[in-house]
């Protein structure tokens, strides 16, 4: 596998500018996390509030494995752990209390 080396000072773009859009995707912020969110699939109503509030775009809609009895939605919101920093905004904002923050070490 080809390893991408960090640029030398002569290779640095002028003023450290980023010349292509969307490159933040390459920088995985997930390892900053000390708490992680867990979603109760049964309580999630797929309203998307967590997706709106998430500062790192780490919420994503996931198809339910098996829809529980009486579930109204085919999807619920889960996490992309490559980017979730564990800030807990989602848990604080979730209107149904479907998200709880847990310590990473006890996972």
């Amino acid at each position: 596998m080809k390893t991408k080396l960090l640029p030398t000072w002569t290779e640095m773009p002028l003023g450290c500018a980023v010349s292509e859009p969307g490159t933040a995707v390459e920088y995985k912020t997930g390892d900053w996390r000390s708490n992680y969110p867990r979603t109760d699939e049964n309580k999630c109503i797929a309203c998307g509030v967590c997706w709106i509030y998430c500062p790192d775009n780490s919420r994503r809609a996931v198809r339910r494995q098996k829809a529980p009895e009486g579930a109204m939605y085919t999807h619920y919101f889960d996490f992309n752990f490559n980017f979730c920093k564990g800030c807990g905004v989602c848990a604080a904002e979730c209107p149904t209390g479907a998200i709880v923050m847990l310590e990473e070490v006890k996972r």
Binding site: W9, M12, C16, A17, E20
Partner: protein
Amino acid sequence: MSGRITPGKPIGMEVSIAQAEVVAQCDVDCIAAYPITPQTHIVEHLAELVADGDLDAAFMPVESEHSAMSACIGMSAVGARTFTATSSQGLALMHEMLYIASGMRLPIVMSCVNRALSAPINIWGDQSDIMAERDTGWVQIFTENGQEVIDQTICAFKIAEDHRVTLPTIVNMDGFQMSHVIEPMVFYPTGKIRDFLGVYQPLQRLDPRDPKMFGPVGIPEVYTETKKAHDVALIDSQAVIEEIWEKFAREFGRSYAAVEPYRTEGADYLLVTIGGLGETASVAIDELRAAGVKVGQIRLRLWRPFPHEKIRQALAGVKGVIVFDRCLSVAGTGGPAATEIKASLYNLPQRPTVVGFIGGLGGRDVTVGDFRAMIQKGIDYIDRGAAPIYEMVGVRE
């Protein structure tokens, strides 16, 4: 530019107004500024030129100097030729944004009308303001009179925008003693200035059709490399600045150098000055030369990048160097120019004694007689080998 300037013959005008006129001649696109004494007349006149339709530029009045520099950063980032001016507390308020402008390599041109810093509140001239910003990574040029302000303002745009430099540039002038003085100055035809500068072609700019991000987080893995690139660019800019000054001399007939000698032939002692009081000092040099004292003068025009080699060449051979600073580094190792000159000379196998004097603070006059006395005191210290770390002059005892 307005109808009040006629190129080619000397015109008596306040230096601030003259600088505003020449900025207009330089075809500036955007100006953001906040008024502060003694810089006010520059941006006031630019606002007037824009309002009267004499200058086709965006003039953005803002609520502070911090905002002025922030606005300039944004305007320069989209590729506009950008100008602002400030002084003293205003420059200090810009402090954090100055690093951002240079770190993002934006060729903003700023006039700094040098003034003391409070407290006590003092609106008059000295160099405390700019010396506090010496490490901000801008090209920094000093001037001694109105004509030099006109010439260096034109050169500043050329220097800043050169693709080998792409760094913001400050042109310094003394508050009041230059900014508010009516001097005879020669203007150049606008077309000639615009041909000299050319149309500004940014190396990169913010454009929705070609998305880029300026000013991102520089993580530890890239911050050092970015700073190294900035450092080398500023060091290497000296050769470009000298090349631009040579081109300016060919086309406009007035030449400039990073380190300018005055009556240095056979000198045993040299006085180093930085900024407008250098002209007063030159008269003292003339008088002392006439009295048989072997003293000459070195005017330090380029402050950043610091011209180490030129300073060494100019000073290495003499017995002693007297440096006059218009800025007090409180309880430090001397005035900024003296300290850096000492550092520049230190590793030479044979180096002259350096005596640092500090005066002219907060608008205090420094007369020809003061310079004469200062030089003689300095020579006495050098001859006796008794130079103090630094000494304040003109203090009532």
